[in-house]
C-alpha cells in the first residue's frame, strides 16, 4: 500500500475510526464485566456474612 | 360484531367531544404546510415539485403526533384492563382502536390534503391520486401507530420512543405513497403498481399490526 496515493487519508481515516470504535466497544464491555463482577462478589460476600452469625431468638 | 363497533363508536365520540385527535392533527398539518414555504422560499415552481413529498411527510408526522393518546387514557383509567377481560379477542380490540384512530385522524387529513395542497401549489392533476393514495396509506399509518402506542403504553418517555420505533416502519408507506401520488406527472405507468403495493402494505398491516399490538398489551398487563 503506497502512502502517497491520492485519497490515502480516507483509507487511514476509515481504518483508524473502525479501530477506535471496535477497541472502544471491547474496552467498554470488558470494563462492564469487571465492575459487575466486583459488585456481585461484594453482594455475595455480604449475604454470606449475614447467614454466618448464630441464630438469634425470633423477634415476636 | 357489535362489540367491535361499540369500541369504535366510543372512541370517535371521545375524540369529537374532547376535540383532541382530529383537531390537533389538522392544526399541526396546516401549520407545517405554512412553515414549509417560509423555510424553503415562495418559488411556486419549486414548491410544486416538492408538494407531494411534503404533504405525505406532514401526514406521517400528524398521525404520529396523536399516537400516544390511543391507549394511554384507557391504560390510565383501567379501561384497558377491563377490555382484556371482554369476550372479544385483544387483536380485535387493537384493530378497533386502529380503525377509530384512522377515522378520527388519518382519514380526515387524507380527504383534506388535496385542498390544503393548494398551499404548496399542488398540480391539479394530482388531486385525485393523492386523495386515493392517502386514504389507502393512512390506514397503514394508523395501524402501525396503534402498534407503537401498544408497545409504549404506560412508559415514562413513551411519546419519544414511539417516533423512533414507528418512523422506520413508515418508510415503505412514504415511498410508495409519494410515487403513487406523482406518477401521473412523472412516469404514468408507475401509478398502478405503486397504488397496488401501497394497498398491499395496508392490508398486511391490517392483519399483522393488531396481532403484535395485542401481544404488546398482554406483556404490559402481566
Amino acid at each position: 500500500m503506497s502512502f502517497t496515493a491520492p485519497h490515502i487519508g480516507f483509507v487511514l481515516a476509515s481504518y483508524g475510526l473502525s479501530a477506535l470504535v471496535l477497541v472502544g466497544l471491547t474496552l467498554a464491555i470488558v470494563w462492564q464485566a469487571r465492575s459487575t463482577m466486583t459488585r456481585l462478589k461484594d453482594l455475595e460476600g455480604r449475604a454470606a456474612k449475614r447467614r454466618k452469625p448464630a441464630k438469634q431468638v425470633k423477634p415476636q | 360484531m357489535s362489540m367491535f363497533w361499540s369500541l369504535i363508536r366510543r372512541d370517535i365520540v371521545l375524540t369529537l367531544r374532547q376535540g383532541g385527535g382530529a383537531g390537533m392533527a389538522l392544526g399541526f398539518f396546516i401549520t407545517v404546510l405554512v412553515l414549509l414555504p417560509l423555510g424553503i422560499g415562495p418559488d411556486l415552481k419549486f414548491l410544486q415539485r416538492l408538494a407531494p413529498g411534503a404533504l405525505w411527510i406532514t401526514l406521517l408526522l400528524s398521525v404520529l403526533l396523536s399516537t400516544d393518546r390511543i391507549f394511554a387514557p384507557d391504560y390510565e383509567d383501567g379501561s384497558l384492563e377491563l377490555m382484556t377481560m371482554g369476550p372479544m379477542p385483544l387483536e380485535l380490540v387493537a384493530l378497533a382502536k386502529s380503525v377509530a384512530h384512522w377515522l378520527g385522524t388519518g382519514l380526515p387529513l387524507a380527504i383534506l390534503a388535496p385542498g390544503l395542497g393548494v398551499l404548496l401549489n399542488l398540480d391539479a392533476l394530482l388531486f385525485g391520486p393523492i386523495l386515493l393514495a392517502m386514504v389507502l396509506g393512512s390506514l397503514a399509518l394508523s395501524l402501525l401507530a396503534c402498534l407503537g402506542a401498544a408497545i409504549t403504553v404506560g412508559l415514562r418517555r413513551g411519546g419519544m420512543i414511539i417516533s423512533l420505533l414507528i418512523l422506520p416502519l413508515y418508510v415503505p408507506v412514504l415511498i410508495f405513497g409519494v410515487s403513487a401520488t406523482n406518477a401521473i406527472t412523472g412516469v404514468p405507468e408507475l401509478f398502478g403498481p405503486s397504488m397496488l403495493i401501497l394497498t398491499a402494505i395496508s392490508l398486511a398491516s391490517l392483519v399483522l399490526a393488531p396481532i403484535a399490538a395485542a401481544a404488546a398489551i398482554r406483556a404490559h398487563m402481566a
Binding site: - | 369500541l7 383509567d77 384492563e81 377491563l82 382484556t84 377481560m85 372479544m88 398487563m221
Partner: protein
C-alpha cells in the same frame, strides 16, 4: 351442574420475591371467599392472577363445571382501585358502552335500574366528570350487576364509600351469591356480610419457605 373454582398450592413470585406460596382454596356456587391479611401479602396479586393479569409461578387453578372454554378472566368481573370510567361520557353512555363491549347490550331502563341499586338513577344523563369520587366508585360497582358474570373478584370494593353505600354494596354481593355466583373479595371493613369462607393471606405467607 355447579361451577367451582379450585386452586391448589399456588405460588406467585414477582421480581425474585415470593409474594405468596402454598395457597389452596375452593369456591363453589353461592359461596364467598374473604381474603384477609396485612398489606403486601398478595391479596391484590391473587385477584389479578385470577382475572388473567400475570402468571403463577407454580400451582394449578381449575374452573370445573364450565361448559365453553372461556378463561376465568372472561367469566369474571375484576374491580381494582381504578373505575374504568370516561369522564367525557355521560353516566349512561359509560355503562351502555361496557354493556355493548361485554356482549350484553342493555336498554336504557335496565341501566337505570342498575344505577338505582346504587342510587345513581337520577344522574343518568350527567357527564361522569361531574361525579364525586364516591359516586364514581358506585358507578363502577353498578357495572357488576349490569353485565352478569358468574365470578366476582373485588379488591377492597368499599374504598371511598360511605356507610350507606357500603350497605348497598353488601346487598349487591348478597344478591350475587344468592343467585349462585362466586365471590372472592379482599376488604378491611366489616361489610356486615357473612362470608362462607375466609383465607388469611398473612399466615399463609408466614408458613412459606
Amino acid at each position: 351442574m355447579t361451577m367451582q373454582l379450585s386452586a391448589k398450592n399456588l405460588v406467585c413470585r414477582r421480581g425474585g420475591r415470593t409474594v405468596f406460596s402454598g395457597l389452596s382454596f375452593t369456591v363453589g356456587q353461592g359461596e364467598g371467599l374473604l381474603l384477609e391479611g396485612p398489606n403486601g401479602t398478595g391479596k391484590t396479586s391473587l385477584l389479578r392472577i385470577l382475572a388473567g393479569f400475570g402468571a403463577l409461578e407454580t400451582g394449578s387453578l381449575e374452573l370445573d363445571g364450565a361448559d365453553d372454554e372461556l378463561t376465568i378472566g372472561q367469566r369474571a368481573h375484576y374491580l381494582g382501585h381504578q373505575n374504568a370510567l370516561k369522564l367525557a361520557l355521560s353516566v349512561e353512555e359509560n355503562l351502555s358502552f361496557w354493556a355493548d363491549f361485554m356482549g350484553q347490550p342493555a336498554t336504557a331502563n335496565t341501566i337505570e335500574e342498575r344505577l338505582d341499586a346504587f342510587n345513581l338513577g337520577h344522574l343518568m344523563s350527567y357527564s361522569a366528570g361531574l361525579l364525586s369520587a364516591g359516586q364514581k366508585r358506585r358507578l363502577a360497582l353498578s357495572r357488576l350487576e349490569l353485565v352478569s358474570r358468574p365470578i366476582w373478584l373485588l379488591d377492597e370494593p368499599s374504598v371511598g364509600l360511605d356507610a350507606a353505600s357500603c350497605k348497598l354494596l353488601a346487598a349487591a354481593m348478597m344478591r350475587h351469591m344468592e343467585a349462585g355466583g362466586l365471590l372472592i373479595a379482599s376488604t378491611h371493613l366489616d361489610l356486615g356480610l357473612t362470608f362462607t369462607k375466609k383465607l388469611n393471606m398473612g399466615d399463609v405467607a408466614e408458613r412459606a419457605p
